[in-house]
C-alpha cells in the first residue's frame, strides 16, 4: 500500500508542515524538474529519493548513494507499482 509522491519544485513551494505528516516511510518520493535542486530539503521524507535522471542531469546535479536515478520507463513503471500517485 505505497503512494507515489511527485514534487517538481523546491520545498518552499509547498505547505511544508503538512507534507511530513502525510508521507509515510514506505511511500515513494520522486523529484522531477526543479525539485531535483532541493534533494537535501526532501531527504527528511525518505531514506532513498527517486530522481528523474534527465531532469537532474541538465541541472548539473550529481546523484549520491542515497539517490536512485529514474528513467521515464521507470517513472511509468513506478506509477503502476504504487497504489496511487499525488502530484503536489
Amino acid at each position: 500500500m505505497s503512494t507515489l509522491h511527485i514534487f517538481s519544485k523546491p520545498l518552499n513551494y509547498y505547505c511544508a508542515n503538512q507534507l511530513e505528516n502525510l508521507i509515510l516511510s514506505d511511500d515513494n518520493v520522486l523529484l522531477v524538474g526543479d525539485a531535483c535542486f532541493a534533494k537535501k530539503q526532501f531527504r527528511q521524507f525518505a531514506d532513498t529519493l527517486l530522481i528523474l535522471e534527465q531532469d537532474a542531469q541538465i541541472r548539473a546535479i550529481k546523484l549520491t548513494d542515497n539517490d536512485k536515478a529514474i528513467s521515464y520507463e521507470d517513472f511509468v513503471a513506478l506509477t503502476l507499482s504504487t497504489n496511487q500517485s499525488i502530484t503536489w
Partner: protein, 118 residues
C-alpha cells in the same frame, strides 16, 4: 465504482483553484463514483461562512459549495490542524465537513484509486 480524492490546498480566491476542485468533485459524483474532497492549509477558508464576493463583482461560489449536499456529495473533509491554524471551528463552516487528523488523512489517501491536487 472507484474512489477518487480531490485535494484543495489553495486559498479561496487564488485563481479558480477552489472552483475547479468543486467542478471536479461534482462531476465525479455525477458519473457515479465515490468522490471525496479534502480541504487543507488555506483551502479550509473556502468553507468559511458569511463571505460575500458578490459585493466586489466576484462570483459567489460559496452558494455552489452548498449544493454539494443537494447532489449527495457526502465525503467532505477538512484538515483538523488547518482549521486550528486559521482559527475556525465547525460552526464557522458553510457545510458539514469531517475534521481529520493526519493519520486519518493518510488512511483516506491510501483508500483511493485516484488522487487529484487542484
Amino acid at each position: 465504482m472507484i474512489n477518487v480524492l480531490v485535494m484543495s490546498q489553495c486559498s479561496p480566491f487564488d485563481d479558480l483553484n477552489i472552483r475547479d476542485a468543486l467542478d471536479m468533485t461534482l462531476i465525479f459524483a455525477a458519473v457515479d463514483q465515490n468522490v471525496s474532497w479534502l480541504f487543507s492549509g488555506p483551502a479550509v477558508l473556502a468553507l468559511k461562512k458569511h463571505q460575500l464576493p458578490n459585493n466586489i463583482g466576484l462570483k459567489d461560489f460559496f452558494k455552489n459549495i452548498k449544493t454539494l449536499e443537494i447532489y449527495d456529495v457526502e465525503n467532505i473533509y477538512v484538515c483538523e490542524k488547518s482549521l486550528l491554524d486559521y482559527g475556525l471551528n465547525k460552526h464557522d463552516l458553510l457545510i458539514e465537513a469531517k475534521a481529520l487528523n493526519f493519520s486519518q488523512q493518510q488512511t483516506l489517501i491510501k483508500a483511493q484509486q485516484h488522487v487529484v491536487n487542484l
